[in-house]
């Protein structure tokens, strides 16, 4: 969203940059971002996004600088004073827009909390994908803490993250477009419809879970982003089912659906059980503890049952 604030003179260079970034972002789902830059990204939270934006912009600047140099045909990059002035104006406009965007965003949600969810690395992503597809051999489901704050996903494989759900969501939309194209039912509106449908169901699920947790006074430390992360893990199962459906036909789709549903239900129940049921210890000491664990178990099981239903609902029309 910060790309919209560039000066118009530099529009075409950055549009050339944009599909490249989008392609890399969606195809690199199995690999995390480079670990050196990522550790700097997470530790340097004092400068509130300036360092991250700076490191993101410089590749674009270099590309655009060399391309204008090549078009001018001279070795010196800024030989043309008008191009120099335009670059300066565009970069000052971009900085203003960037500051405004950062200020507005940090009013609505804390960017530091969001950065915690994206501090991942390759090893974590691979292990988490393995656990999502085959959770039966994973022994220790406890989220580890470090002096009262939860550990980042880089250091603890049980911590929820938002990188896998975001990438899986984008990959799911692209895969849906491809599946519809194979069946010759593709049109560009379908992609937007698919995306907003999936997004709408995710919002509904997070709202229902928040409502359920509030009504039953479960004082867990599950924030909204945690619930968003846990409800976004089903996209991995969806991608797996659609891929098997495309490769092996309708039978492969149902086998993959059954497998990923069972794995996902097991994963959700084990992960949420730790967070929801163990908050009982700090809560009500005396009465009502007879009904409470059962009711909390109902929430966990209801969430788990909901996952295969929504996976089937969102993918069955893609595999005929």
């Amino acid at each position: 969203m910060s790309l919209f604030y560039f000066g118009s003179s530099r529009q075409q260079q950055f549009e050339m940059d944009l599909p490249h970034q989008g392609y890399r972002a969606s195809k690199q789902r199995g690999r995390g971002p480079p670990t050196g830059g990522e550790s700097m990204l997470f530790d340097d939270t004092s400068t509130s996004g300036m360092s991250t934006q700076g490191s993101y912009y410089t590749p674009g600047y270099n590309m655009a600088g060399t391309s204008t140099g090549m078009q001018g045909g001279v070795n010196n990059l800024f030989a043309d004073p008008m191009a120099n002035a335009a670059v300066m104006y565009g970069s000052s406009l971009a900085n203003q827009g960037k500051d405004m965007v950062n200020k507005e965003i940090s009013r609505y949600m804390s960017v530091n909390k969001l950065k915690y969810f994206f501090a991942v690395d390759t090893r974590y992503v691979l292990k988490k994908l393995m656990i999502l597809m085959f959770p039966y051999t994973h022994q220790d489901w406890e989220v580890r803490y470090h002096r009262d704050t939860p550990l980042t996903p880089k250091q603890d494989v049980n911590a929820p993250d938002l990188y896998i759900p975001a990438m899986a969501f984008i990959t799911y939309i692209l895969l849906a477009g491809m599946a519809l194209g194979i069946q010759k039912r593709f049109s560009p509106e379908v992609l937007g419809l698919c995306a907003s449908t999936a997004l709408g169901w995710m919002v509904i699920e997070v709202l229902v879970m928040l409502l359920g947790l509030y009504l039953l006074t479960v004082h867990s430390d599950l924030s909204t982003f945690d619930l968003l992360a846990y409800s976004g893990y089903k996209y991995v199962g969806m991608i797996f089912s659609v891929l098997c459906g495309l490769l092996f036909g309708s039978d492969g789709y149902f086998v993959a659906l059954a497998w990923s549903s069972c794995a996902l239900m097991f994963f959700i129940v084990r992960s949420l059980k730790m967070k929801i049921l163990t908050s009982l210890a700090s809560d009500s000491m005396s009465t009502g503890s007879g009904a409470k664990p059962q009711v909390r178990m109902y929430i966990t099981v209801a969430t788990a049952i909901f996952q295969p239903l929504i996976i089937y609902w969102l993918t069955s029309h893609l595999v005929r």
Binding site: T197, I204, L216, T287
Partner: protein, 82 residues
């Protein structure tokens, strides 16, 4: 299944409107969900019914003024664009 974000927004507005029109003394007190009947014992364990009554009361208090604005905007837009 077509499920645009606009549909989601419409559903949210309709739900919040439906909570806002529950009248306090004509309806909620009659069925025992009024604000004066909510307080159980002190301390822990409010229970589902008390939490729900709290939620209804807070939604009605908070969303009364913004709902006026949002409903006016919706009325104008629907009159203009059908």
């Amino acid at each position: 299944m077509g499920f645009t974000l606009y549909t989601l927004l419409q559903a949210a507005i309709l739900c919040v409107n439906s909570v806002a029109v529950l009248h306090e003394e004509r309806f909620l007190s009659r069925i025992g969900w009024g604000v004066d009947q909510g307080v159980g014992g002190f301390g822990d364990e409010p229970g589902i019914k008390a939490q729900l009554m709290n939620l209804i009361r807070s939604v009605r208090t908070v969303m009364r003024v913004p709902l006026i604005a949002v409903n006016s905007v919706c009325i104008v837009l629907l009159l203009l664009f059908g």
